[in-house]
Symmetry: C2
Subunit: 321 residues, 2 copies
């Protein structure tokens, strides 16, 4: 077991997901596969943009803009300036280096290549050691209903800066999507499955909702460890707390436990939420307290080590039993 | 006549064409329409690139890179760096600002918009006062046969840096192309028609070759003044001299006269080529000597003034006769 790496499969979306991925990828005894979220994908200027998958690629490829947590370092915005001059809608901030990837992805898709193959080739070109997998090769798109009507996810998230209250979420195409075989294999073969501290509603739900993915998770032999994105009643980044409250869910680690009930064995929560341990345990998840804030490279590595040891230790113990 | 501007229609391709366009556009008494060359167009990374039309737009919009004569000033190459990283062929130097335009054009074309409409909207967005017209909305592509086989024009011009000898030229789609109505109208309504000091073989020929364009030129009431791109046996820029020689044509102003015989009334040649006046006159064109080198803004304005006065004076004289 010492020579062979542990296979860890991470379900991840957004910046929190990418940070967890970085932490796990840095562990010397882990072979990481990340199943990302494609429901934030959208078309801009005729190009196919895949923000969550790109954030994974840029983070694991170590070219991410560390200040903002997304996009590429040393980025320019000349292409967008031209598009703006030409009267195009340019609220979606797309950098020049980033555009190169969107142009490439769009060209490959128009050539008929499978999105999973494109994501794999892009990750390799960026020197990513982990496998970046898509939950599906079909088009799935998160829609957000606000008092002003339905918005695409990027319209809500970027253009409206998450300001409108969310009344309803929908995932166009999700019920008809087919799971990508690589994602199913990564779930089946995993020694440990981790659900990242991502937005449960718009990052993790559209992965779990691909028909066949949740069933594969339930059937998997691996321990499943989820990490809460909450510290107290707030998430570190993004609108998950406000979204959950607006949709009538509990906006705290107990709300996350309710989401992953029957699926995750363990929920890693922040020390600040230790008081919720009883409720979480009552929902059938084993609560484990830690410091979940990932600011530095060391934070990510430490949390990843804890999560890995937790899940792999349990797997080993059960194997031994 | 003094209040109303003279309608000048210019046939132009390449950097020489754009310089002539700039000179004519600067004349206060001229309303300029430029019919550009689309046979250099090509697809790169799934995007539709139109180098000659863009050089016109960038020149007349005063954002051209004045050092190289093409491309946009203050340009970056981050998108191309990403494409290179992804393993794409990146010998075609496409800048980030430039990419914005290619992305826009491609999107509009995929939406079903007419190339002429797109070119018009782009020119307006860049603040171009002149009309930039396409000879056709159909796809026409110059092919260059070398000893290594057939190349696209950009492969010959950019990738191979015009090094291979040209054995044959072909224009895919030209015989089937339909003339754009705006181009025909600009020829019909012109007070003066100018053929720029562009490459006669690959810039002007694919304009003249669109069925209906040459007939419209012959039928036009305006005087037609061509400007030679030669100074002695050499052109100022580009491969026209070597191309003409390789294809068995005379590589000098007399060769240009042979090309425009029966079409142009006047050929403006450089003082250095005064010795060819007799031969040019024998081909039915009136030779006029000038200084055709356009380096500065003043050079362009002076040559444009001479060309305009020449053609418009003749038109006026004939009208008076």
């Amino acid at each position: 077991m010492s020579a062979q790496k542990h296979k860890v499969t991470l379900l991840a979306g957004g910046v929190g997901g990418a940070k967890m991925a970085e932490g796990l990828a840095a562990l010397p005894d882990v072979a990481l596969s990340v199943i990302g979220n494609v429901a934030d994908d959208d078309e801009f200027h005729g190009l196919w943009v895949s923000p969550d998958i790109d954030t994974l690629t840029y983070s694991l490829g170590d070219v991410i803009d560390r200040n903002q947590g997304w996009g590429v370092a040393d980025e320019g915005h000349r292409a967008l300036e031209t598009l703006n001059k030409l009267g195009a809608d340019t609220w979606m901030s797309l950098g020049d280096r980033d555009f190169g990837l969107h142009i490439y992805r769009t060209m490959r898709r128009l050539q008929g290549d499978r999105p999973s193959d494109i994501a794999r080739d892009v990750a390799r070109a960026f020197g990513v050691g982990a496998e970046i997998l898509l939950p599906t090769d079909n088009k799935v798109q998160t829609r957000v209903r606000t008092d002003a009507g339905w918005l695409s996810f990027q319209e809500y998230f970027v253009r409206e800066r998450c300001a409108p209250d969310v009344r309803e979420l929908a995932f166009d195409g999700l019920a008809q999507a087919r799971p990508a075989p690589e994602a199913l294999a990564a779930i089946r073969q995993a020694d440990l499955i981790v659900i990242a501290p991502s937005n449960p509603l718009v990052s993790i739900a559209p992965i779990l909702g691909v028909p066949g993915i949740t069933a594969a998770l339930r059937a998997a032999r691996a321990q499943k460890v989820a990490v809460s994105p909450f510290i107290g009643g707030k998430v570190v980044k993004g609108p998950a707390d406000r979204m959950m409250a607006a949709l009538g869910e509990r906006a705290d680690a107990a709300g996350v436990a309710a989401r992953y009930r029957g699926l995750a064995d363990t929920l890693v929560i922040d020390h600040a939420d230790a008081g919720l341990s009883g409720e979480i345990r009552a929902m059938g998840l084993a609560p484990v307290c830690s410091d979940i804030l990932m600011k530095t490279r060391d934070d990510k590595a430490r949390l990843a080590r804890e999560v890995a040891d937790l899940g792999l230790a349990r797997t080993n113990r059960e194997t031994a039993a």
